[in-house]
Amino acid sequence: MAIIKHSQVVEDPWTTVTAVDDPLPSNDQPVIVSLARWQADRAALIARRSPLGLRLSSAESPAVVADDLAYFELFALEFPAFTDGRAYSHARLLRERYGYSGEIRAVGHVLRDQLIFMRRCGFDAFEVPRSGDAAAALAQFQAALSEIDVWYQTAPDAQTPVFARRQHMSEAFLNGTAG
Amino acid sequence: MSLQVVTANRLRDGRVIYLDAADGWSTDVAAARLCEDEAAATAALAIAAAAVAARRVVEPYLIAVERADGAVSPTRYRPVRYREVIRAFGPSIAAGTAAKET
C-alpha cells in the first residue's frame, strides 16, 4: 500500500495495531490503534511520547471520541467495501462538527473513482494500492481529482459551491467588475 | 445431467451470446456448444472465464437446454427456462411498432 498525502506519495511512518493484546511499537514510534484498543488502554496510550492515531471501522462514529480528539494526530477511517459510504459522513463530522484539523486517512477499499468524493468530505490522505511507481500513482490520483470541478454542495474542502460562485458572479457584474 | 450451454453478454454492445464449438461466440443459440456432462460444462466455463479476462464477454453462466422439435423453435435446442427463451429469441412482444389508431 502507498499513502498519498497532500498530493504526494509519502513514506508511511505509522504502525497500525488493532487487536487489544498485540504489542505496541516502541515508545517513540507513531502508532494507529483501533477504538477497542483505545478504550482498553487509554491511559497507557496517552502516556506514550509518540504521535497517536485512531482507526475507526465504518460502524464506529467519531462521535464516541468527540471529547478526546486532542489526543489524535490522525484518524484512519475504513472503507470495508467501496459501497459502504459511512466514512464520508464520519469525515465530515470530524471536520465540520468537531473541528478536527489533523490527518484523515481513507483506508481499505479506496478506489480511484471515489477519491474525489473523499477529498470533498475532508479526507486528506489516501491508502491506495501500490501499482507502478510513485509518479504513476500520483498522476492517476491527480487525474481522478481533476475530473470534476463544479460542485453544488457545501463541504469541508476548499471548493466553492456553485450557488456561491453564481452569487459572486452576479455581484461582480453589478459592481461592474465582471471581466 | 441435463444438456447445457454457456451464455454471456458481449462486452462492447451487451448482446446475448453463446459459446460455440470453435471457442468463439455466437448470437445464435443454435450454434452453441453442447455440454453433455459436468466435465464439458467445466471446460466450457473455463473458456468463458478466459473470454472475460480478454474483455470479450461479461457475466458468463450455464443454462439448461432441451431438444426442441422444429415446429416449436427455429433451432435444434432451446433453453429450458422461459427467461432464457426470451434472452435467446428476443422480447415476446412486438416492440417499437407504432401504436394503433384508436
Binding site: D84, I148, Y152 | -
Partner: protein, 551 residues
Amino acid sequence: MYRYDEFDQRLVDQRVAQFRDQVARRLSGELTEDEFKPLRLMNGLYLQLHAYMLRVAIPYGTLSSRQLHQLAHIARRYDRGFAHFTTRQNIQYNWPRLEDTPDILAELASVEMHAIQTSGNCIRNTTADQYAGVAADEVEDPRIHAEVIRQWSTLHPEFSFLPRKFKIAVTGAQHDRAAIRVHDIGLVIRRDANANVGFEVVVGGGLGRTPMVGKTIREFLPKQYLLSYLEAILRVYNQLGRRDNKYKARVKILVHETGVEEFTEMVETEWRHIRDGAIDLPAEEVARIRAYFAAPDYQTLSAAPPEYTAKLAADPTFADWVRTNIAAHKVPGYAIVNISLKPIGGIPGDATADQMDAIADLAALYSDREIRVTHEQNLVLPYVRQTDLYLLWQELRRQGLATANLNLISDIIACPGLDYCALANARSIPVAQQISERFADLKRQHDIGELRLKISGCINACGHHHVGNIGILGVDRRGEEYYQITLGGTPDEQAAIGTIVGPAFASDQVVDAVETIVDTYVGQRQDGELFIDTYRRIGNAPFKESLYGNH
C-alpha cells in the same frame, strides 16, 4: 423551465468526459467488470436481459420540445427507434451499445440532459406532480424545489454510497399525483397558519418487498431550510441504515425498526447542528431558480369559448377524449392535455421516435414548447388553449396518441418485466396488452370508471402494483409465470397498500380474474362509487368469493 447556466453545463460536460474515460479504461482492461459496474450504474447504464439499457433522467418530468426531439434522435441513431417512459419520470433505451454510451451522454448534455444517478445507491431523479405550475389546487410550483434538490443531490460527496437507492418526490397540490407517500422522502408544499410556505416532510414510504406508506416526521418545515433538513435525514440514514441485508436497507426499514418518534428525534438533533450553517441556498439563488419557472405569457381568454363547446357537442369521440384526458387548468381558456401512451393492446409507456418528434412539434405549436412526463407513464402538454384542442386532438389521433383512457382500466402502469428486465420473474407487458384488449370497448371502460391497474414483473414493484386499485405481481412458480392479485391500493394522499386477494393465477387465467373483479365491482357499486370506494366499503370478501368461491 430551467435552463443550464455555465456551471450546470460544465458539470454535465465534465461528467461525460469522465464516463468516456471510464468506458475506455473498461475496454482497455484497466477496469474489471466488478470495478466498472458501479461507475456505469451511476451513469444509468445497466446490463439487462438482451443488452445494455440506458436510463436517462427527466428531472421532475419536465421536457422541452428540443429535448424530446433529441430523445427521438437518440432512439433512432443509437437504438431501435423507440424508448420507454418509466414510473420515475425517466426514459429508458433498451439496446444501446457500451461503446456508444459516451456519445449518447454527450448528445444529452448538448440539450441540458444527463443520466447521472439514475441508478446506484444514491439520490435518484427527483420526481414531481406533472401538473406543476398549472394545477388549480397548488400552493407553489414544486419544480422550483425539485430543481434545488436536483442540484444539491447531483454528485453529493457524502451521499453517493448510501445503504440503498433513495427517491424523493415533491408536490405542491392538495391532490397527490406524484405518489409522494410511497417515496423515501415525500414533500408536500403547504402553508402554515401565518400563510408562510413550507413543507410537510414524509419519510419512509416505499414499495418493493416490504411496502410501506411514509410517515410524516415534520408537519411544517419553513422552506428556506429544505436542504439542511434533507441533509439531516440523509446523514442519519447514511450512518444508521442497514447495510447487512439489501432487502432491509431502505430508509423505510430504518424508520420502522427505530420507530418514527426516535427517528424523528435523531433527524431533528442532527438538523439543529447544521440548520444555520452554509448548506441552505441563499434567497437570491432560490429566486434565480424560481424565475425560470415563471408562467408563460397567458392570453386573456374566456373559459369554454363557443367554437370549442360547439366541437364538443358535434363530435362525441372528441368529447370522450376531453372528458377523460383533459384536466382543469388554473387559467381560464386553457387546458392540461394528457397524452395517453396506453393505446389499446400497446406497450404501456413506449413511444416511437416518430411519436416523440410529433409530440415535440405539437408542444411547440400548442404548449409553449413544454412537455411533462407522468409517473403513470403518460405525457402531458400543460399549456394548451381550449380553442386549439380540436386541432391538437386530430393530430394526436393521426399518431395513435389520442386514446381516451386516462385513469381508466386500460391506462395500465406496467414495468418492462421479463421481456427486458434481468430481475423479472414473469412478463408484465403481455398481461397489460391482454387486459387492455379485453376492455378495449371505451364505452365499457367509461362505464367502469376510474380504476388504477398496475403490473410489476417482480417484487421490486417498479410497476407500483402495491398501490394499484388492482395490482398484479408476476411470480415464478416452478418455472411457470403466475400472477398474484392485490386489491385496494392507492398512490395518492390516502395512500394505501393493496391486500392480496388469494392464490396466484396462471397466465391464461389472469385476464379472466381481472374481469371477474371488475364485474363484481360493477354488481356491487352504489351510485357514483368508484372502484376504490366500493372496495373500501365492501372489502376483499366479495371479490374473493367471486374469484375462488366455487373452488
